[in-house]
């Protein structure tokens, strides 16, 4: 078919139209942005300003563990100056809890405080009513902390073990989880005894909240899920463990010693130690701060921060850090007392900051 000029023109026009109507790609040219994390304020030694990204300053985010409790932390640091802030976890007795929701809703958190006074006591006498025990070695997180009597100074979740030596030189070790210095939302203890028929009778006693489920273990073997336990046992010492779930979602594990020989070597769980702890303010979701400046370290924990103030003005998700955990950008105005580690002198820190805190 012979093409004439009109066809040629039409083809050219169609080609140009097609060419110009092609999908255009876009190029995302990176743009500079404003600093994300920074702190500006004053303290002993003068004003300061530190910006993550300038002068080798970096915003480190991590979750530390302190006495078995998570501390959601961020540390803004360069070569000469660093500020660290941590938020303690809370609601420790719940199986699952959303720390973020509580942190975000608490616009005026309090500063954590600690001193050199014990907040809990582990005492043989509180377990051994019948004087059948000659000695108890106390282990806290696998560390021997005392014989017959030991003390706990810091809030936390501890695995406390008692190596018990009876008067007949028989021994047994049993361990309980203790929550010290944090609020507990349910409490209870195991009540047990072995009758003359050699039957173990056990139940949950003193529950402050309705118990929804109990799993019984005898010498680490599951034996029952009944609220009341009644079964024959062999004539020897046994560790009776109860995993108790309360209706409000709290879950606790208690371990007691039952004696199947009728020699009355029964020992209760460690609930008594939680109940007798010093009633300091709980540390749930408290804040701590520390500063390193000019080679000196300053801490908020030992200082008197009863009148200090922290005002959270905003909290929002930023992005995951290199560990893959979510990081939240926390903006706050802070006025806090810090104690220098060597001189123990307290000095105020006032600053506004935007910090990154990892909250898994």
């Amino acid at each position: 078919m012979r093409m004439n000029f009109k066809h040629t023109l039409l083809l050219c026009f169609a080609g140009i139209l097609l060419f110009t109507s092609c999908k255009k790609d876009q190029i995302e040219i990176p743009q500079s942005n404003d600093p994300i994390f920074r702190a500006d304020g004053s303290m002993t030694g003068g004003d300061f300003s530190i910006v993550a990204g300038d002068n080798n300053a970096y915003m480190y985010t991590m979750t530390c563990e302190e006495n078995g409790v998570n501390v959601f932390s961020g540390k803004l640091s360069d070569d000469e100056f660093s500020i660290e802030m941590g938020v303690y976890d809370g609601l420790l007795d719940f199986i699952n809890h959303e720390a973020l929701a509580h942190i975000a809703n608490n616009v005026s958190p309090t500063f954590a405080h600690s001193d050199d006074q014990p907040i809990a006591e582990l005492n043989k006498a509180w377990l051994d009513d019948l004087q059948n025990v000659s000695q108890i070695n106390w282990y806290v997180n696998s560390t021997l902390v005392g014989v017959n009597v030991a003390y706990i100074y810091e809030p936390g979740i501890y695995n406390v073990c008692a190596m018990v030596t009876f008067n007949d030189n028989s021994t047994i070790e049993y361990c309980n989880e203790l929550i010290i210095g944090y609020e507990k939302h349910a409490s209870c203890s195991i009540h047990s005894n072995v009758n003359v028929a050699g039957e173990l009778i056990a139940s949950i006693q003193g529950a402050t909240t309705q118990v929804s489920e109990v799993k019984w273990f005898l010498d680490d073997y599951p034996i029952s899920t009944d609220l009341y336990l009644n079964l024959p046992v062999t004539p020897e010492l046994h560790r009776l463990k109860a995993q108790i779930t309360f209706a409000n979602g709290v879950s606790r594990t208690k371990v007691a010693i039952v004696d199947g020989t009728l020699y009355n070597r029964d020992l209760s769980d460690f609930s008594i130690f939680e109940e007798n702890q010093v009633q300091n303010p709980y540390r749930d979701f408290n804040v701590k701060m520390s500063v390193m400046r000019n080679g000196k370290n300053y801490y908020s924990l030992p200082a008197d921060n009863s009148s200090s103030m922290i005002n959270v003005t905003g909290i929002e998700f930023y992005r995951n850090n290199t560990a893959g955990n979510p990081v939240y950008k926390v903006s706050a105005n802070i006025s806090v007392m810090l104690q220098e580690a060597v001189s123990l002198k307290e000095s105020p820190l006032n600053m506004s900051m935007t910090f990154g805190v990892e909250i898994p």
Binding site: I27, I29, N33, D54, Y60
Partner: protein
């Protein structure tokens, strides 16, 4: 406390040794504000270009209006025996008949001779010319017969034939054969109306063929191409239109400075030529595919996060695609043509090579259609020369300069080159349309 020179020097060296600086977009905006406002004079270019374009598009319609007056013109032609006007209409075979009649009617006594050329209406122009030449020859012979100059017919016929042969050759090379042919014939007849030359002098009894040829050639050569009277004369002639296709290539200075690179391009397009006598108006459109090596953008950004990172992006505009109009007016003399005009252009696309630091989306890739760094509109005044290497083929060169800023300096490393010059060579084929 005053600074000592040593302290000042130390402070200076300390600050100068810092490897990083804080990027602040506000600094660039401040610098931008300090720059003199540009592009104020652009409207003059657009105004003059608009007028030029308007003239180019309006004048063909004026030609149409002229065609509407053809009857009147014909009457004037017949009355005044204006050979050049007649010649321009000679593509029409009917006008060839008229021309023949005029030739025969020089003395007003041979009008009864009719050349039935109506059958040749669908013939090509060459055919028409050939038939016209033969008709003219026949008519002239008849004229001599009527004038009882038989003894000289053969010689006279041969001399006319030789003149017409020369003319025909000119016809082929001028690509407007009919016009020039009849123009020469008209020259033969200017004796009667314009030059008051006695027809016996033009067609002497003694058959002075050499005089006849010299006179004819003299008439042709004494018309200077640059003669204003001739130009106005050309403008009074009717329009003829032709279409063409064109391929071109060019080499130009870089669009930015400083640069050691040139740009080169290839193009193809179509257009229309409107001819009025020796004056030729051209309107066309070309697709231009240009290659560049120095249209690069390097963008550095400091991106803050947990720390900060300085990232770089390199964007290289390697190819530009434009639609370029070709609007010019030219003057033909013989095989040669000089023209001036403008070439407005519009950027329709680009080919961009992107290189970005690792970690950024994209990496190394090729992107089409990213036009943010290049100004879409361009305008080039140009002048050129064309040479008809055959009847339908023209080879020419154009020299032009870009008067509008070509690049967005925010996106390109460098500044706009003021009036970059480019040269273009083109090969143009005139299309002969058939219905």
């Amino acid at each position: 406390m005053s600074w000592t020179d040593k302290e000042i020097d130390k402070l200076f060296q300390k600050e100068a040794a810092k490897q990083t600086f804080e990027y602040n977009d506000a600094y660039w905006k401040e610098m931008e504000a300090m720059l003199p406002a540009s592009k104020k004079g652009d409207y003059l270019w657009f105004l003059t270009s608009g007028i030029f374009i308007a003239l180019l598009f309006v004048t063909p319609f004026m030609g149409v209006l002229n065609e509407g007056k053809s009857a009147e013109v014909k009457a004037m032609e017949e009355n005044s025996i204006e050979p050049m006007q007649i010649a321009e209409n000679s593509i029409n075979s009917n006008k060839v008949v008229k021309n023949s009649n005029k030739i025969n009617g020089l003395d007003g006594s041979l009008t009864e001779i009719k050349m039935n050329n109506s059958k040749t209406e669908n013939h090509s122009v060459d055919d028409q010319n050939n038939s016209q030449v033969s008709e003219n020859k026949d008519a002239t012979l008849n004229h001599f017969k009527k004038q009882n100059v038989t003894p000289f017919v053969a010689k006279q016929n041969s001399s006319i034939s030789s003149v017409l042969a020369v003319v025909n050759e000119e016809v082929i090379t001028e690509n407007d054969q009919v016009r020039v042919q009849v123009e020469s014939e008209a020259s033969l007849r200017e004796n009667a109306s314009l030059l008051n030359v006695n027809k016996e002098e033009l067609f002497p009894e003694a058959g002075d063929v050499d005089d006849l040829e010299l006179h004819d050639v003299a008439l042709l050569n004494t018309r200077s191409p640059l003669d204003l009277q001739s130009i106005s004369y050309d403008l009074s002639l009717p329009w003829s239109t032709s279409f063409y296709v064109e391929a071109n290539a060019g080499l130009g200075q870089s669009l930015i400075t400083p640069s050691v690179n040139n740009s080169h391009y290839l193009g193809a397009g179509v257009g229309t030529q409107f001819r009025k006598g020796r004056i030729v108006f051209t309107t066309g459109a070309n697709f231009i595919w240009s290659h560049h090596k120095d249209l690069q953008l390097t963008r550095q950004a400091k991106i803050y996060g947990f720390g900060s990172e300085v990232v770089q992006s390199h964007i290289n505009y390697s190819e530009l695609y434009r639609i370029e109009a070709n609007l010019n007016v030219g003057y033909s003399f013989g095989r040669h043509n000089l023209n001036i005009g403008i070439r407005p252009s519009y950027l329709v696309g680009t080919k961009v090579k992107v290189t970005q630091d690792e970690g950024l989306e994209g990496g190394n890739r090729t992107v089409y259609g990213f036009t943010e760094g290049i100004n879409r509109w361009g305008l080039k005044p140009s002048f050129g020369y064309g040479f008809d290497i055959s009847r339908n083929l023209t080879l020419g060169v154009n020299v032009s300069t870009q008067v509008l800023t070509s690049v967005n300096e925010d996106f390109i490393n460098g500044v706009n080159n003021k009036f970059p010059i480019d040269g273009q060579i083109y090969l143009r084929k005139t299309l002969r349309l058939r219905k």
